[in-house]
Each structure stands twice: as structure tokens, then as C-alpha cells.
């Protein structure tokens, strides 16, 4: 029996060694990613009883702050979110039950004062524990309010960016929610509110502005035109036939113009009037060259925004699939079919065209300040993508100007300012089409780029178009920014 018992013993030792191997994986190799996982609330628990700095808008409005409380719990501080509904999808929350999200998470170290480059380290020791950072958003409260008011109770998003720096000026979507209950000190109540929040059918906890994908419809013609011009497939002067509908290869289907009208002429004219037939043809002409052109705009790449959870990916047609899926490339040319983009991505497209073809990395935080209000760190402006050459960007920008001057986007006109824009009315069955508008201004030296979507046409439903519903909202924000 001894030999067999010896083997059983060896087997038990082997099992224990397997456990040691697994523990090494969990506690050494995989340890950091587990410790820092979103769903691991231990990080929040570690920070929850430390003083935590406030979060302000660029124009100084407090959107998150901590107050010392004695509510007979183990917690010394209560995190408050004044203007909660206006900022929840950017600022996020700090919850000891759910972990943290948004700016509260990405800038946690700054908020608790970790790694702050203090000019007076001894003052910190003597002065106690008040060395927390103030996080200043690039978002302006006045613009954010204009956007929220213009959107009203319609579902949708507004995103505005300074195209020169990538600073986000507005980021709002409706419906929204107040995150304050999530920062509560009672586990049951927090969980109950979270369950309620996530059970609502219109998903107020979904940050539509950067987490939801929609068909971009005709606003995507800005991208199709850019890629075509950049690839040498077309110039603004290239003539296209005037058609009611475009025959699609490999099928009996056709691609029709809006309202079944006949439409065509030069690329510039087709752009101004938003002719589907022309841009469907461009999608076919580009073929497999379309996909790498889209990639230069960041389609198929997650925008590196400084928020958790990360931005959603915007998608287009599959690389190398033109031979088998030709009709999809025609639909992609008009921003339908395989194309789905976030409002953030469409704003980045507008920002890139406004900035001579260069898309800057988007970020919601401008700088970190210490308790003396001195700037200790500025968030750097970095290039993300070079979408097109300056010449192409300017050619497309010129076409976008005509859209607002005399095309489908006249509702975005502002006295004394040249506005560039593109409307979109994107089919979104089973509901009514989404109304879109992307824009930047002033066209000569752009300072702000904006994307607006109103889901399913908002209050106007099937009557809605991007020009009628979304363009006025964009115009309201542009006016407020430009002081007109």
C-alpha cells in the first residue's frame, strides 16, 4: 500500500502547487488590473474618508464637492453634486458601493491630492491634510445650460469641442439623472437607487454623448466627401448625374434621394442639397479605399477621452469586404447601413475639418489647481488623427458653408458670422429618423465645433429633419459661445 499512498500524497502536493501557481497569477501577475478594476470598490473605500477636492466648470461653477459630515456612519465626508443632472454623465460619481466613474474616477489621484506637485511640501505636513486638488473642466456652464435648454425634454446629445485644443466645451445628453443618491452612505439605498436607475427604459444612466452609437445619416457626407477628395476620386467640381435613385450593384434595390426628389450636379451642389445618389456613388467609387479613409477620421478607433467608462467605438464597413458587400458601401457613403457613430465622433469629424484636417485628442478637464488656486497641471493638447490634408479640409469646409448659407442648414445662420454645417436625417427604424447637425464657426478661423443629435426627430417626430430640429439647437450654442 505504501507506494500507492506515496502517490496519493504526491498528488495532493501537486494540487497545492497548482494553488500556489494560481495565487501567484492573482496576486502578482494579474494583481494590478484586479486591484484597479472598475468594479473593485476597494479603491473608492480607501479614498472615501480622505478629503477630496472639488470639481469646477471652466467658468467656476461647482459641480462636485465634499463636505464634512457626522451622520453616525463610518464616513467622514459626503460627496455632493450641485447641478447633478447637468453634469452626471461627465463628472460621474464616487460611490462606496458601486465604485466611481467619470471625472471622479479618471482624476481621482488629483482630487485626493496624490502626486500633486506641491510647491511647499513642509506646509503640507504642518498644515494637515488639506492638500487636495481642484479639477477644472473645460466645459463651460453657460454653454452647457444653453444646450440643455435647447434640447429640452427631447432625447439626444450635444457635444461641442474647441477644434484647436480638443477641449470639450459642452457635453450633455438627455435623459439624464442626478448622481447624488449613488454617493449616499447607506448600501441598501444606494443599491435600490441603482437598480431603479438601470431599470428605466430610456436609460438615463447612459452617457449618450460618447457611449451610444447612431447611424449618422447625411452628416457623414462630410466624411465621405473628405475621403473621396483626399483619395483623388472626386473634386468639388466633379459632375454627377441628376437622379431620383441609384441602382445598387448585386441587388434589385435602389438608393433613393430624400423625399424621392431628383438630385445631382457637381459634388459641391450635391453636398449643399444632400443628394444621396451622389454620395452612394462615391461610396461605390471608393470601394475598399473607403475603409482606410474612415480610419483616418478615427472610425474603428476609441477616441482617447479622459473618462471612465471609455468612449464607444464608431464603426464603418468591414475592410476588404467591398467585393461581396457592394451595396453596403453605397449606404456607408450616406452614413447608413454599416455606419454607426457616437455624437462625440461626429463632433471630432467637424473639429478635424475645422482644424485643417487634424483631430485633437478630446478631453473634458482643462487643468488641476491646488488649494491656493494655482495651476499645478494643465491637460496637454495632443494630436489624435490627421484625417485629411489642409487643402481637402478647406474644400469640404467651403461646401459646409454653402449648406448653411443656402442649403439644408439655413436654420444655423448667425448674423455676422460664417457658419459651416451639415444636416442629417438618419433612418432609424422602427422609430422616426434621427435629426443630426454638425457644424463649426467662424468658418474662417474656427473656435468651436459642435454635433447635435435629436433621437427620432424629438418633438417633431416624422416631420423632423436635421435642418429643422437639430440645426437650431447647434445655432443656440454657437451664438452663446460667440456672444451673438
Amino acid at each position: 500500500m505504501n507506494r500507492a499512498i506515496g502517490r496519493v500524497g504526491t498528488a495532493v502536493v501537486a494540487l497545492m502547487l497548482v494553488l500556489v501557481g494560481m495565487l501567484t497569477y492573482l496576486q502578482v501577475i494579474h494583481a494590478d488590473s484586479l486591484a484597479n478594476d472598475d468594479r473593485n470598490v476597494r479603491g473608492v473605500l480607501r479614498d472615501i474618508n480622505r478629503p477630496r477636492g472639488p470639481i469646477l466648470t471652466a467658468d467656476g461653477v461647482v459641480v462636485a464637492e465634499s463636505t464634512r459630515v457626522d451622520d453616525k456612519t463610518e464616513f467622514d465626508f459626503q460627496r455632493n453634486y450641485p447641478n447633478g443632472e447637468l453634469y452626471s454623465q461627465v463628472v460621474g460619481y464616487q460611490s462606496f458601493v458601486l465604485g466611481s466613474s467619470g471625472v471622479e474616477r479618471t482624476y481621482n489621484d488629483d482630487l485626493v491630492g496624490k502626486g500633486l506637485d506641491l510647491r511647499d511640501p513642509f506646509g503640507d505636513i504642518l498644515g494637515g491634510d488639506e492638500a487636495v486638488g481642484t479639477v477644472v473642466l473645460s466645459i463651460r456652464d453657460d454653454l452647457q445650460r444653453v444646450a440643455a435648454e435647447a434640447l429640452g425634454d427631447q432625447r439626444g446629445s450635444v457635444v461641442a469641442i474647441d477644434p484647436r485644443t480638443g477641449e470639450i466645451l459642452v457635453m450633455y445628453s438627455n435623459p439624464t439623472y442626478d448622481p447624488s443618491p449613488l454617493a449616499g452612505h447607506d448600501t441598501q439605498e444606494v443599491n435600490a437607487f441603482y437598480r431603479f436607475l438601470t431599470s428605466l427604459p430610456d436609460k438615463p444612466d447612459l452617457a449618450r454623448a460618447y457611449r451610444e452609437r447612431y447611424p449618422p445619416g447625411s452628416t457623414f457626407k462630410t466624411v465621405t466627401a473628405s475621403v473621396a477628395i483626399e483619395a483623388g476620386v472626386a473634386t468639388p467640381d466633379r459632375e454627377f448625374p441628376v437622379l431620383n435613385e441609384l441602382d445598387l450593384p448585386l441587388t434589385d434595390n435602389t438608393l433613393q434621394n430624400f423625399g424621392g426628389q431628383s438630385c445631382g450636379g457637381t459634388l459641391a451642389e450635391s453636398f449643399r442639397r444632400s443628394c444621396n445618389t451622389t454620395f452612394g456613388q462615391l461610396g461605390l467609387d471608393l470601394g475598399d479605399a473607403f475603409v482606410p479613409g474612415l480610419a483616418r477620421f478615427g472610425i474603428g478607433d476609441v477616441p482617447p477621452i479622459d473618462l471612465v467608462p471609455a468612449a464607444a467605438l464608431s464603426i464603418g464597413p468591414r475592410a476588404g469586404s467591398f467585393q461581396e458587400d457592394q451595396p453596403l458601401f453605397a449606404f456607408a457613403g450616406i452614413g447608413q447601413g454599416p455606419v454607426a457613430t457616437t455624437p462625440l465622433e461626429m463632433c471630432l469629424v467637424a473639429a478635424g475639418l475645422a482644424n485643417n484636417g487634424v483631430i485633437m485628442e478630446p478631453h473634458v478637464v482643462k487643468e488641476i489647481r491646488d488649494s491656493d488656486d494655482d495651476v499645478v497641471r494643465s491637460v496637454a493638447s495632443r494630436e489624435w488623427k490627421t484625417a485629411v490634408s489642409p487643402a481637402t479640409a478647406q474644400a469640404v469646409a467651403a461646401m459646409m458653408v454653402t449648406v448653411v448659407q443656402s442649403g439644408t442648414g439655413t436654420a444655423a445662420q448667425i448674423d455676422g458670422v460664417t457658419v459651416a454645417g451639415k444636416t442629417g436625417t438618419a433612418q432609424a427604424p422602427p422609430g422616426d429618423p434621427h435629426a443630426w447637425f454638425v457644424s463649426f464657426a467662424p468658418a474662417e478661423a474656427p473656435e468651436i465645433a459642435i454635433a447635435v443629435i435629436v433621437e427620432h426627430g424629438g418633438s417633431q417626430g416624422s416631420e423632423a429633419t436635421g435642418g429643422r430640429v437639430a440645426a437650431p439647437i447647434a445655432a443656440a450654442v454657437l451664438r452663446a459661445y460667440l456672444g451673438r
Binding site: 500500500m1 505504501n2 507506494r3 500507492a4 499512498i5 506515496g6 502517490r7 496519493v8 500524497g9 498528488a11 495532493v12 502536493v13 494540487l15 497545492m16 497548482v18 494553488l19 500556489v20 494560481m22 495565487l23 501567484t24 492573482l26 496576486q27 502578482v28 494579474h30 494583481a31 494590478d32 488590473s33 484586479l34 486591484a35 478594476d37 468594479r39 473593485n40 470598490v41 476597494r42 473605500l45
Partner: protein, 439 residues
């Protein structure tokens, strides 16, 4: 100084080390809150020292030639477990002190009552009956209770216990005795099926029946951990008794078959497997425990957060099934591996006792008891680290739980009894040896 005294003195010194480590841990656990030495430290240390000395004196009296390492190792594991429980839930810790006392009581009783292991061999069928009865007890209406979804409890008055823990020991006695009796017949086959030589089914049948009944009962009671444990332990014993690899293969086939049937028959088995394969998709639901356990290990890292400084209370059932995750978080890889090493040393001593036994019954019995401790540790630690699907079972000597602790102390007593028998058989009881040889 003779071998006895040297052994017992070693045991006492090692025991003081275990008590010291435990007391130090207990102070650390209280520090973040109070920054003061806990007022009840001396009460706790006195109880712990008292229980240890009591167990030690019992060994001196009733099993003086027994192995000196098992009791200190058990005390170390028990102490670490107690400190972790007191850190998670002070009320539970107070109850656990009671269970520790009951465990030591059972330990002393085992040494007093079981003077010779051979006695147990004679009552093999009584133990089989007792074992099966104990397994069925929770199914009886009136006294049976369902706690945490598993019907393994019996409640009499205010006291709840799991008779399955006792069944474990009873059935191992039966299996050891039966296998020793029939091992010649079992290892020399009489029937041939192709290349496979099978023993007379007459001898195999009772074995398979007992095996199947115990496992089916436990699966029915949703005690998957115990089913897994039984299967492994009986398989190992069958192999050890016959030295026939074919049985190992048969056991494996039976296991795969049984697991497949259980998977198709029971929702709770399917849940465990799918949660094991991907807990992240159900991280807020069924996978919550395992995901939290992984977070605990990851946060603990190499050296841990320190006793009392982590958040192991975030893991559900931390004092029982997930006690090892709590240790991993606060003591890190170092602490977790130290606990594993202690278990391994315990198991190593157990197998050494089995190897030293001259008669077949104590040999197989010791191997069976030791395999329980080793496999049970693997099943639960493997479960909380996601090496295998999670099945709720206690970590020997460490987890909170009275029945389990008492059963473990009985196992400890039986192992020491066999060890003492071994030494007497070798004549150490009569022969005086010099201390240098003994050391």
C-alpha cells in the same frame, strides 16, 4: 530525556509560537480602529493558551509517543482563522471561541475513548450505518433545516449542526476497514472484459453502492463540495488499498459520468459551472462572490494590505467559504502561501503516519483522514481562486463553523492516536533512547 518528553516539549514550544502569532494578529486586527491593545486580548490569549495546554496535556497522557507537529500546525491554522473571523465579524468570533473549546473537547474525548484504532475496524458496518444516517438526517422533516440554499443542517433547540461533517469520518472508517478486508479480492480480478480485469462484482457492489448513495444524497442536498470531496477521498483510498491504476481510471470515468448527469439534472450544478467559466458576465449576480474574491487577492498582492486594513467584508460569506480570500487580501501572497504551507506540512505528517503504520487498517485509515484535509483544502481554495468551480465547503481548522471544526479536531485526534500506536509498535514505548537520537 526520552523520546516522549522530547516530542512533547517540541510540541509545546511550537504551540507557543502558534499562540504568539495568533495573539499578534489579534492585536493588529484591532489597531486601525482603536490604536490601543484590545482589552479582551488577555482573555482571548488565556483561552487560547488554555485550550492548547489542555490538548497538549491530553496527548501527554493518552498518546505520549504521537507526532509532535500536528497539534501546533492545527493551532496555527485555527488561530489564523480565528483572527480573520474576529476581523470580519466580532460576534461570530465569540461563537467560534465556543466551537474551538468544543473542538478541543472532542479531541480529548477521541483520545480517551479510542484507545486502539483497531477497535474502530471491528464496527465497520455500524459506522456505515451511522454515516448514512447522518447524511440523511437533514432530510428528516422537523429537525432538518435549509441554510444558504443547502439542506445540510439539523437543528435541535438553539444549536444547528451539519451531521455530514461527522458522516465524513464515519464513512472513511467504513471504507478503510472494508477495503482492507477485501483488498486481495479487489486487486485480483476474476473477470475479464477485453483487456480489463474486473473483480467479482459481489465485492465491488457494496462499495459502489455506499459511494453512490452518499454522493447522490449530497448532490440532492446541494452540497456539491462534500460530494466532490467524498469522490476524491474514496477514489484515493480504493487506489491506495489495491494499488491498481485501473480503479483510478474507473473512478475518473465514474466522476465524468456522474458530473455529466448532475450537470444535466440540476440547475445549481449548471450555474456553478457557467459561473466558473465566466463570472464576469454575472459579476453583479451569481458571479459576485468569485469576482469579489479575485478582487481581494488582486488588491492584497504580494504582501497584503495588512491585518485589519483591507476590505474583505466585501466578499460574501467571508468567514466561512471565502475565509482564504480574506487572508489573501490582508496577508497577501506571503500569508496565503504560509497557510498553504502549514496545510501541506499537516498533510505531509498525516501521510508519514500512514506510511509508518504497520497494519493495513490504520495505514489506510490515516491516509483517508489525511486525504480529507488535503482535498478539502484544495476544493475550497481552488473554488475561491477559480481553479475549479466554487463549491461551498469549509477550509479545515480555519473557516467559521462548529461542526466542521469539531470534525477536524476528531480527525486530528485519530491521526495522533494512529501515530502513537505506530511508535508503540516500533517499541519506542519501552525502549529508552538518548535525547540526541530522539532529536
Amino acid at each position: 530525556m526520552n523520546a516522549t518528553t522530547a516530542h512533547r516539549n517540541t510540541e509545546l514550544r511550537l504551540g507557543l509560537l502558534s499562540v504568539g502569532i495568533t495573539a499578534f494578529g489579534y492585536v493588529l486586527v484591532q489597531l486601525p480602529d482603536k490604536s490601543d491593545i484590545p482589552a479582551d486580548l488577555w482573555i482571548f490569549v488565556s483561552i487560547f493558551v488554555g485550550l492548547y495546554v489542555l490538548a497538549h496535556m491530553a496527548i501527554r497522557q493518552f498518546a505520549p509517543y504521537a507526532d509532535p507537529s500536528l497539534l501546533p500546525l492545527a493551532a496555527f491554522l485555527n488561530g489564523i482563522g480565528f483572527v480573520t473571523i474576529s476581523r470580519l465579524d466580532p460576534d461570530l468570533a465569540r461563537t467560534q471561541v465556543g466551537w474551538m473549546a468544543a473542538g478541543v473537547g472532542a479531541f480529548v474525548a477521541t483520545l480517551v475513548v479510542v484507545r486502539r484504532v483497531r477497535t474502530l475496524e471491528r464496527f465497520r458496518y455500524s459506522f456505515l450505518l451511522l454515516g448514512v444516517l447522518a447524511l440523511l438526517l437533514p432530510l428528516l422533516p422537523g429537525i432538518g433545516k435549509t441554510i444558504n440554499g443547502a439542506r445540510l443542517w439539523v437543528g435541535i433547540g438553539p444549536i444547528n449542526f451539519q451531521p455530514g461533517e461527522a458522516a465524513k469520518v464515519f464513512l472513511v472508517i467504513f471504507f478503510a476497514a472494508y477495503l482492507v478486508d477485501k483488498r486481495e479480492l479487489l486487486s485480483s480480478g476474476t473477470r475479464r472484459i477485453g483487456r480489463l480485469v474486473l473483480p467479482d462484482p459481489k465485492h465491488l457492489a457494496p462499495l459502489l453502492l455506499a459511494w453512490a448513495v452518499s454522493i447522490l444524497v449530497m448532490v440532492q442536498q446541494k452540497d456539491l463540495g462534500s460530494s466532490l470531496l467524498f469522490f476524491a477521498v474514496f477514489g484515493a483510498m480504493l487506489y491506495a488499498a489495491t494499488e491498481r491504476g485501473a480503479y483510478l481510471l474507473t473512478a475518473l470515468v465514474l466522476f465524468v459520468g456522474g458530473a455529466g448527469i448532475a450537470y444535466n439534472l440540476f440547475d445549481h450544478v449548471r450555474d456553478r459551472v457557467s459561473t466558473w467559466l465566466d463570472p464576469w458576465v454575472v459579476a453583479q449576480g451569481k458571479g459576485f462572490q468569485v469576482v469579489q474574491s479575485w478582487f481581494a487577492f488582486g488588491t492584497g498582492g504580494l504582501s497584503g494590505t495588512g491585518f485589519g486594513r483591507g476590505n474583505p467584508q466585501l466578499i460574501p460569506n467571508a468567514p466561512t467559504d471565502f475565509v482564504f480570500s480574506a487572508i489573501g487580501e490582508e496577508l497577501g501572497l506571503f500569508g496565503a502561501v504560509a497557510v498553504l504551507a502549514a496545510i501541506l506540512l499537516f498533510v505531509g505528517s498525516g501521510f508519514r503516519i500512514a506510511l509508518q503504520a504497520e497494519r493495513p487498517f490504520p495505514k489506510l485509515f490515516a491516509a483517508g483522514l489525511t486525504t480529507i484535509i488535503g482535498v478539502q483544502s484544495f476544493v475550497i481554495i481552488g473554488g475561491v481562486t477559480r481553479v475549479i468551480p466554487l463549491t461551498g465547503i469549509t477550509l479545515p481548522f480555519i473557516s467559521y463553523g462548529g461542526s466542521s471544526l469539531v470534525a477536524n479536531f476528531v480527525i486530528l485526534g485519530l491521526l495522533l492516536r494512529i501515530s502513537d500506536d505506530n511508535a508503540r509498535a516500533r517499541g519506542e514505548g519501552r525502549r529508552r533512547v538518548s535525547s540526541s537520537v530522539a532529536a
